[in-house]
Symmetry: D2
Subunit: 383 residues, 4 copies
């Protein structure tokens, strides 16, 4: 920290994330953990009444709880102490329209994944962000776990030799029944093509798996061969995803994501094998990374432990054995974004590892390719 002291907290707004929402609360906690943000405004719901109630819950000044994101963007941009950044935590189909209003007014955007619900929106989104001076971060939060950063570093420094095999999976069980026909709000929009897009499970969690594998290995997906399926009767979108992967340079992979796998709570797991070693990581035990140099015993690398490297230590808060979890990983994305915003205040820019619009665009491309492959009964489709 510079002698100049801690920078003033970033004024943050939020679109979506009202009562009953899950991910909005996560973003709020994540924004607070390292004390770089202050939530001061929001369009938490689609009606002004509901939005104000949520604002009240959150201690937001009444006149800064908005009934529409557009109104919020217009007014906050004019306020002297208006928001500098906004978190978008709406269903997918709104991401683009909302982001546009803020980006064009010079407000930085932190947006939940997947980027959009349609490929055409994704293309426009890419252009929009690339032509904007504002920052855009897509919360593929799993990339920010310390041991994921270490895994990435291990692979990028060629400690595994040439990557050969990538096995990634993301399995859950909460949609094993037709939960969407109850009043479970989390379920209903996720299986609705209008709000989620053409991908169900593949969009909701498959994109996380795809993104994580790419982030850690640095490999570019060349083509894929997919079999998407819906097991729960009446459901409109896929709830199980089987994909074979071919990466540029010759590595091969498999991706499984499912929301109908009883016993799996949030089973995101990544295994990468190269000519000189292998690594294994599981999101439910995020402080551990298993590393096997070929021909040697497997090592258990722990966050902040004796085998932790600089990449991991840079995003760790507390000592080994004191588990950091999901919220801390999420918070790291916020904090890296904050550093970028601090720099932007001074007209500077900083490098960081936060996923952005490019990763979001690739994610939508991944969804499209998988759906295309599956529709034509499984042939290889180029990305």
């Amino acid at each position: 920290m510079s002698a100049a002291g801690k920078p003033k907290r970033i004024r943050l707004g939020m679109v979506g994330g009202g009562r009953d929402a899950f991910i909005g609360g996560v973003h709020r906690i994540a924004s607070r953990i390292d004390d770089h943000f202050e939530l001061v405004a929001g369009a938490f719901s689609s009606t002004i009444e509901k939005s104000k109630l949520s604002g009240l819950d959150l201690g937001i000044a009444e006149d800064r709880s908005y009934g529409s994101y557009k109104e919020m963007a217009i007014r906050e941009a004019r306020l002297k102490e208006g928001i500098e950044a906004v978190s978008i935590v709406t269903p997918n189909h709104l991401h683009f329209a909302v982001a546009k209003e803020f980006l064009k007014r010079g407000i930085h955007v932190i947006c939940d994944k997947p980027l959009t619900s349609t490929a055409s929106d994704a293309k426009k989104f890419l252009k929009l962000v690339e032509s904007s001076d504002s920052l855009f971060v897509l919360t593929h939060n799993y990339t920010a776990y310390p041991m994921i950063r270490q895994a990435r570093d291990i692979i990028h420094s060629k400690e595994l030799g040439e990557p050969r095999v990538v096995q990634v999976e993301y399995a859950q069980d909460w949609l094993s029944t037709d939960l969407e026909n109850t009043d479970q709000k989390q379920a209903s929009w996720r299986v609705d093509p209008e709000r989620s897009g053409a991908g169900g499970c593949i969009g909701d969690i498959g994109t996380h798996a795809f993104n994580l594998a790419g982030f850690v290995t640095g490999l570019q997906l060349e083509s894929l061969c997919a079999d998407l399926h819906t097991f729960v009767e009446g459901r409109q979108l896929d709830d199980n995803v089987h994909i074979m992967l071919r990466y540029k340079g010759g590595a091969k992979g498999m991706l499984w994501s499912s929301q109908v796998a009883p016993g799996n709570e949030n089973g995101l797991r990544l295994r990468v094998y190269g000519s000189k070693g292998g690594i294994e990581w599981s999101q439910e035990e995020p402080n551990k990374l298993w590393y096997t140099p070929l021909g040697e015993p497997t090592r258990l690398l722990t966050r902040s432990g004796p085998g932790a490297n600089d990449a991991a230590n840079a995003v760790s808060r507390i000592p080994a054995g004191h588990p950091e979890g999901y919220l801390e990983g999420f918070a790291t994305l916020y904090s890296e974004t904050a550093e970028a915003i601090y720099a932007a205040r001074d007209g500077k820019s900083v490098e960081n590892l936060c996923p952005g619009v490019k990763e979001g665009y690739e994610g939508i491309g991944f969804i499209s390719a998988a759906i295309a492959s599956s529709k034509k009964n499984g042939g290889w489709v180029k990305l």
Copy 2:
């Protein structure tokens, strides 16, 4: 949350926790996670210069960084918007003196453990708090993990039948060498009788193990038989603790704590066996609780999972499989304290599970008894 909206954040001060300290940072993050506190003042170090530098790091207004806790207590008590609560994160020998200054001025105290460095201070501390109108919370943070709350509930509701055997341990490895002779600040005060008291490992982590076992089982320790030892040459305080336990009502136990056990990072583990079942929990995988009804297969109970009970769910933030960690557990203590402070603002009081001065006093009694037993070569000593 009431329709009246979120209460105003509690104005918090801190004593200790300057640059290089570990636990101060933990308290600060914990205080922010659920957004009930705002850190506005501090006596972070023993000199005004250092304190102001830490204050600068933390975004504290310059005139509220103090060089002495007494000055801080006096001035903050007089301010119109002075602190309502203070976190004490100094070495143990200062806890009592610091707490006294704030408690007597009506400022609530959140204090790190162990309560004091001497038994006589502990007794005075007990009286002081009992005669005070202010709240006092001792941060035995491990009691606030959701699955610990569930374990407690399982035992209190007699699902294990009569408790018979309690195996608790807390093993670390970071003091396996004479780290205190390097410039590692965390090590040096912990092995210094002046600042820590007569107990080394037993005070630093043994008390956590003792407290946790009592919290979960509800059992009162009747007597103990201890063998404390110092393995690292030149060290003044114990670094390995072996204790046999006898609880009122007939349960027996063992407590091991060590800071010289290579491979153990923060290995706090609790196992309780009763006439009808058993439970096992490990701090390094805090979201899991293993529960075996006698004669049935072991169940894996997970935080927010299908077997989680009300006690666990009440202190969980996010869904199953999204690991919460050490900071969230710590934050729960802060949030329960906040609820009590909110009530106190209205002259009300609320029940909660936060450890207080009684638990702190018992902890010092435990340390004293263990040292006494060990000194007389291991006989049973009553608590």
Copy 3:
């Protein structure tokens, strides 16, 4: 055991399994564990000298160590106390020719997998066995683990509801380098198309994975879509196998097998998810079966433990917590075969779960389909 006492041990011969071989020794131990067999003859190597040396190691009478399996079959069939059964543990390409000599002389055959090195041999093999009065057992040994038997029973009794997703994998790392170019005998024949057939990894271990998934679920594979690959330069056969599976009735699956995955020793793992629950099993911890009824906590079912069912208990030898391993599972196949041979002595037949020629034939069909799919770049191929 009947009052008539223990039947006389079955006189067993062996083809293959000389010095340096791995699986021959396994068969021998497996045949002894439950004391139903006595090894009395063998054609352990392809020369009479080597065969006699191996026979000497094993305590075989000199005149019953043969230099050719044909000679052995002829002579043993004529001996009054000649062998009743033979174990075939040669490289794959010899299985059929060897089995033929014994089967046609009324000698029961226990044969290692995969059935043959070519599809045409497999077809002939199927006919041969079906027209023979002798017993034929294919040692897909993993089917005999107690918790695999329990998993099968759970699924067959519909406790998981309708099976939806089958994730099976078999990963090893021992062929991560070109071990075949050293004098490692285990490696050299396995990657030689002449001796192994057209499949490398897929034949050696992929067939085990395929077989196990079918055994446990009872599902028939309808079609597959494969991507086989050779990572180690100069190797002639595949060393990594990615396959998507479609089962009759609508279940979907994935199969990964690899011999180039550093950190995986013998990583055969099976996960099956249905509409009402899921199970998970790993060969390296064979005494455990994880079972999750949908919406309930996961149970850890253990061999001989409180949740073990009849199917598991029928093939367990010792109490819970006393681990049985690979050799015991293998021994169970031998013992079930022995029961069938005892019955055959009396002209009777018994039902058992031992894999036979049908499973072997399906395995070769699986290999062929996978190679065909992979060659045409991944389309779905019917079985």
Copy 4:
């Protein structure tokens, strides 16, 4: 194996181990696994009728099933092809009397633990064996697990530096209720002072824990401080054991053994920490050894894996990842005994690691000291 070929199998007898017994069957399988023994005679039960029935089950010639061990010893010693060794698997109180009959007739003895049911027998036993030319092996079978051999080697070669802390435990749950009042034969003799001796849980499994800790560390116990307890009402012997340990040279330890700990099937676990590293091992996952060099990441050493050393490899049968279990460990004791008997046939002797009468005598001393300490309410008692 020498060019001379496999030695003739050792003719083995058994005392005890009739129908319903557990450990007799284990000994029989163990004796067969490596093919060094042939069971040819037995006094399986205390009546000739029952003994013959068991003999029939086992394929023993009728005239070699005896109704009394003495008769068996006398007759077998006279037979030309009489037994060379005998396995004693009776309740504890008979070990000495039985062994005496065979040892004095030159028949080698393999005896289950604990050595005897009384300290006076143990002393006599020690003298008897020391003055005998025959071999005596006590089946502390857990010492023969490969990774236990590796652990021993790691410690003996000072890779952990000076041993400091030994945590050993052996927990089961099968006696959590008064099973002895049902017709469970395994339970009834184990809690009967007449047949087991003055120790219950401490004799049955505590001695295993004590022995294993000594075997692995090479440390001699100097004194102990114990708290033995009986939780199940009406039970005559202890069912839970808490002991603090002091080893010669300054290491300290704790031993917990319990048969009333629900969820523990056969939970023998050993952890040893020294000045330079630590190891952890659990009997229920015997193929794994966790090894942490101080200040480095923990390594997972696996049986036959890349980190396995000569000591482990010498007693391994099959490759890494193919789990060996309890029976194989037990078999190793038998095979090491066989090598010693083969040598004895030629009048030679060989060194091996099999526990013998000395270890048995120490075990009885351990039981006596623990009971003495517990009776006088926990003071330190010298061994």
